[in-house]
């Protein structure tokens, strides 16, 4: 992936980043666009930013839903998978209507958006929020209080805050260890400072805490989406960017809070139409390093739970 970037123009590489973390393609695209925009010194217009926030937060929900379904499936609860997929389908339908693809979306362009929102976009997103809030309660009803679920997860794969910092683990895994660190709050991008939300944290850093943190994160995402949808500013959706993108010589690093953790893009330009270097810091790859520490002293059966809870996507590990 990083090598491919060196043989493509800046715009051409945008669809490739969707292939890294294919369950959260929109977040990947946002990170890349923000990095190139920083290099160019432009900022997306407010309307584009609001739509970007809505789509990335929906993507966070979609990613967490897929995680929840497969994680529960690994532990042995088969039912939640179908329910999670059903709700994820609603999000994917919104994507399909908005940008024409369900998974590898290529929703954002450098400098803003390519597509204007379709008719009834706000209504559909709000409709999803209404449905989804009830559904989270249902998942929790099925899993949170479940005795088997608790026995399989509590105290398994403990990763303390110190360990997390040592390994560079980010995202929900870090927050489950009790560290209140979220890039959306710590260094707001794309207008996240305008929205009210909380950073859910856990105490023990075990698998159960990570589960709870992700569930809370979905609720917070719904909250952000509601705020963003109710107030999408009018105006253009594309900043003034030429057809041929030629960033000045220089480098930029932008990191965003992807569903799995800190997703960073380090882009270097030599002044031509092609990137000189695109280095990607993927959250899955870094979080996977902690697997060894978490598995020490655990049963083989617990390893399944631990891998499930790190929420890795291998497309991103080997990007």
């Amino acid at each position: 992936m990083e090598k491919i970037a060196e043989n493509r123009t800046w715009q051409m590489f945008a669809p490739y980043v969707d292939r890294m973390d294919y369950v959260a393609a929109v977040s990947n695209g946002l990170g890349y666009c923000l990095a190139v925009e920083k290099l160019l010194g432009v900022e997306a217009p407010p309307r584009a930013q609001a739509v970007r926030v809505i789509l990335t937060e929906l993507n966070r929900i979609a990613s967490h839903l897929l995680w929840l379904g497969t994680h529960a499936l690994d532990i042995g609860a088969i039912t939640p998978l179908f329910y999670c997929m059903r709700e994820r389908e609603l999000i994917l339908n919104i994507y399909e209507k908005y940008c024409g693809a369900r998974l590898t979306t290529h929703a954002f362009r450098i400098g803003g958006l390519q597509y204007e929102t379709y008719d009834g976009f706000e209504k559909e997103v709000l409709h999803f929020c209404d449905i989804f809030e009830k559904k989270i309660d249902e998942y929790e009803e099925l899993l949170t209080g479940n005795r088997i679920w608790q026995q399989r997860l509590k105290g398994v794969g403990i990763l303390t805050a110190a360990d997390c910092k040592e390994y560079g683990v980010t995202g929900p895994m870090l927050r489950a260890a009790g560290v209140k660190w979220d890039l959306r709050k710590a260094q707001p991008y794309s207008g996240y400072e305008k929205y009210e939300f909380e950073i859910p944290t856990g105490q023990n850093g075990d698998t159960y805490d990570r589960y709870l943190v992700r569930m809370q994160e979905m609720r917070q995402s719904v909250r952000i989406v509601r705020q963003a949808v109710s107030d999408i500013p009018a105006g253009p959706i594309m900043a003034k960017v030429g057809k041929v993108i030629k960033p000045p010589v220089g480098e930029a690093y932008v990191s965003i809070e992807a569903p799995k953790g800190e997703l960073g893009y380090y882009v270097v330009s030599d002044g031509s139409t092609q990137p000189y270097r695109v280095r990607i810091r993927p959250p899955s790859f870094v979080n996977l390093q902690a697997l060894d520490r978490m598995c020490r002293g655990a049963l083989v059966a617990d390893v399944v739970a631990i891998i499930g809870t790190t929420d890795i996507v291998l497309g991103e590990v080997d990007r």
Binding site: R19, Y98, G100, A101, T104, Y115, Y118, E141, N146
Partner: protein, 151 residues
């Protein structure tokens, strides 16, 4: 004691099953019976490519500017054109589009200045051979047809 009673009366199990049975209601069924029931596809869906023609006289809309071929990250579009010696205008001769390598990013569609190349809602693009995935001008203008076999 309370824990024991919960275990004896299988309270957890019943609670879980209540959710399951609630979703058995016919209204809750969301499965699509695909070949019999056609899916509703978004208007902006990026599927099989199509080369638009002028509906009145059947001429191609393509002006052979080669922008789509330049915009494509996979370089899978080849535009073959000839300059007409009389009118000094470019005329489209061949147009190949290799969907086996296409990732449907839509950059070619965005690049086209005359909306000649378009990604349509057609999503059934399977073919029996690798060569079948390389679309020529005729297929692109007509749209993809299912492979017919003589029995």
């Amino acid at each position: 004691m309370k824990e024991l009673l919960r275990r004896i009366f299988l309270v957890d199990l019943i609670e879980g099953l209540r959710v399951t049975f609630r979703h058995q209601h016919p209204k809750q069924i969301v499965t699509e019976q695909y070949p019999f029931e056609r899916p509703k596809i978004g208007e902006r869906y990026r599927g099989a490519p199509r080369l638009n023609i002028n509906p009145e006289n059947g001429d191609t809309l393509c002006i052979c500017c080669d922008l789509c071929a330049l915009a494509c990250p996979e370089q899978l579009i080849v535009v073959g054109w000839e300059r007409n010696p009389e009118t000094r205008k470019k005329e489209l001769v061949t147009f190949t589009y290799d969907i086996s390598r296409c990732m449907f990013c839509g950059l070619c569609e965005d690049a086209c200045p005359v909306d000649a190349l378009e990604l349509t809602q057609d999503f059934e693009m399977a073919s029996y051979t690798r060569e079948g995935a390389i679309l020529d001008r005729q297929t692109l203008e007509q749209g993809l047809l299912p492979t017919q076999y003589r029995w």
